[in-house]
């Protein structure tokens, strides 16, 4: 099973190389909102945000945007706070956040199965 989660990076940064079909203004805006929200949080190192689901491929496919939050084991409260901040981040976007601990992500290999792409990590 492929491992996901912390990769030893220390600084927060945009990780996604946005493909041409994801390069629209709308997509850059929502990635910007997610990064800004994550940066403002106290979430510890070893956390990553991913986008997945139909909204990645077709803006008109869904009204909500699926976000995967992978957090270090034992940081459930911090993860729930960040997840809630993301859900409340924008009035015009409905963020649907799935929060998984690193162990749960290893158990499910969710990012790999859903072809999620990482947009941020700390």
């Amino acid at each position: 099973m492929r491992r996901h989660g912390a990769r030893g990076r220390r600084s927060a940064h945009l990780e996604a190389v946005v493909a041409p079909d994801r390069a629209g203004k709308w997509f850059r805006t929502l990635i910007g909102i997610l990064i800004e929200t994550a940066e403002a949080s106290d979430i510890p190192a070893g956390t990553a945000l991913y986008l997945f689901g139909s909204s990645c491929w077709d803006r008109t496919a869904a009204n909500d945007i699926d976000v995967l939050l992978v957090y270090p084991n034992g940081q459930l409260d911090q993860a729930n706070l960040l997840a809630q901040s993301i859900r409340n981040a924008a009035t015009s976007l409905l963020f649907d956040v799935l929060a998984l601990s690193a162990s749960e992500e290893r158990e499910l290999a969710f990012a790999q199965t859903e072809r999620a792409f990482r947009i941020w990590s700390r």
């Binding site: 459930l76 729930n80 009035t91 015009s92 929060a99 601990s101 749960e104 969710f110």
Partner: protein
Amino acid sequence: MADFAYETRWFADAVVKHDAVLRASALPNGHVSVERKSLSSITVAPLATPCIDTAVVESVLASCVPTVILLIPPTSHYDWSARELAEENGSTIHTVKELYTFMREPDPRRFVDKSVRYLWNLLETHSRVTSIEMICEALMLVKRREPLSDVIAAIEYEYEFSEAALVRALKHHPGARVIINANPNGGATDAALTHAESAEVAILGVSEAMGALNLDGVRFREYVCRERR
């Protein structure tokens, strides 16, 4: 005095971004007129409150009858009795998700969240179930034939039921004894199941819920359907 505040400006700014909406304008009484593309306009009373109960509905209806009374905060609830009262008076109550989902319906009032409606219909067909009584927008009392006890079930829709999702669900529905994941492809992680066991709550998928309803007590809570054994 009912405890609520109108979120008129917030909602008017947000709803115009919905594909089916042409324009939205704030009304003096705090409601919002929503002009829809190729459909009749509706009026919405967007509320911020921990819970919309019958007192809140009476207060809203005293000024004007909106098409929809809208519950804004996702962590809040509306009492089912409040929704029934609103419907008796020509209105209804929706969550934001319900309104957005059914915005393209000519009359969105009678619609209920798709996951809730699906489970409601399905559970009613179970041979051990005598009736379903809705408590709030996503919490239902499942009444069963004796000697089986009644069950309070919360309906959620998650890709996968993680521990974080369970903590969130328990906070949102503290009275629930079973949480049913309406996503037929969604499972539960080991951490979520361990946490659920200590909280004496069951996390069940749809097919598991149908099997577990034949059982009671610990056997109900720990029911695992054949494919997961």
